[in-house]
Subunit: 230 residues, 2 copies
């Protein structure tokens, strides 16, 4: 499981341990979320041989279960494989878990390499409770369901002292933050983390009352993580 940089402007030495490149260079079979971005990552790693001599296969939300089965065949034949998603950590809010699960069923060893996870980085810097936290992925889009979901997250944040992390499609960030400040109590703390690991990174934790007074005007179409705390 090989992580990739999250930010487009980030260099590899900022995002990944040197060791990861040594591992990647030793491998010839790559399962990638997207062929184009997978090839781009491999060319940044400097493989020392032409990318088109490598075997690449895609695994993403469009991959049928039967196709996942076929992806493991070279591995069962003895080949090492690297799973690489488009950005961040494969298997965490990104494809990869289906192949890893299949490897476990076949007794194949799965090794995680260190790299950037926007979820974990946002939590680290948020000041929210990191002794108990949950990542909930995307919330429902329709306003009534979304409001119910946000109130449930806020309730769980308070009763279980568990920080509640969620994400949104970048063009809907503003709507999500508006729904959060409309649904949650004034003293509930909320983290907005934008452009993590990029030069433009901004991670801010404020109360709902403070966010209401000054909403960020630059959320639009930027990758963001939201955390609801106590």
């Amino acid at each position: 499981m090989v992580p990739c940089p999250i930010a487009d402007d980030g260099d590899l030495a900022r995002a990944l341990p040197e060791y990861n490149a040594d591992v990647v260079r030793s491998i010839n079979y790559f399962v990638v979320e997207n062929l184009r971005t997978g090839r781009r990552f491999l060319s940044r790693v400097s493989m020392g041989r032409p990318i088109d001599t490598l075997k690449l296969a895609e695994l993403n939300e469009h991959t049928a279960d039967a196709e996942v089965e076929s992806l493991i065949a070279p591995i069962l034949a003895g080949e090492d494989c690297a799973m690489i998603s488009e950005a961040g950590c494969p298997g965490v809010a990104d494809p990869g878990a289906a192949l890893a699960a299949l490897c476990h069923r076949h007794g194949v060893r799965v090794v995680p390499l260190v790299g950037p996870s926007s979820i974990l980085l946002a939590l680290m810097a948020s000041g929210m409770n990191g002794q108990s936290f949950a990542f909930n992925g995307y919330l429902p889009v329709k306003p009534p369901e979304r409001q119910r979901a946000l109130r449930a997250l806020e309730r769980r944040a308070r009763t279980e002292h568990q920080s509640q992390i969620c994400i949104e499609a970048p063009y809907r960030n503003r709507q999500l933050l508006e729904a959060i400040v409309a649904s949650c109590a004034p003293d509930t703390r909320v983290t907005v983390a934008i452009d993590i690991t990029a030069e433009s990174e901004r991670i801010e934790t404020r109360t709902v009352a403070e966010w209401r007074r000054s909403m960020p005007d630059d959320l639009h179409k930027r990758p963001a993580i939201f955390i609801i705390g106590e």
Copy 2:
């Protein structure tokens, strides 16, 4: 927020991006979980000046709130600060969140650096659902409460499709796994991840029925992460 290697035998180039050392070398004020291990980490980074010319302060579970307030004074006076826990990522299942929260209240920027989190690495390699997951820290130690907690986690894993991560004091790992296989359904998948990032790392996902048939005999006193899935 500066991560540290998790494994004692791990070298820095395996666990951390090169960039982290540049950041650490530019800093003179360090808030560390433990003075001794903090100094050891700084000497491994090769600061280029004697460690005893640096300012180090401790932040851990014994630090009173008033002391945390005093830790931010140099930061408010304009000094950059690195928060370093004993192993892994500060603020995530480790001290650091209290200082980060105080920084946010004072409008001080908090920046997370990339590094190893045993929670995230275990999840990446587990094959469990990484689109929704929760870290629950330590479970109750007394058998009846522990069984209730495990059943609640299993229920949430099934009804909310949310992978449930927990940890235990290493000398009680074996008891925790025994409680899991006694409390959960035979077809529930459970990950046991030991010695993450060390040479001896082992991450295995099996059903409860499979774990019952062959319990690992080498869990004792090794750092472990447990994940209950569907």
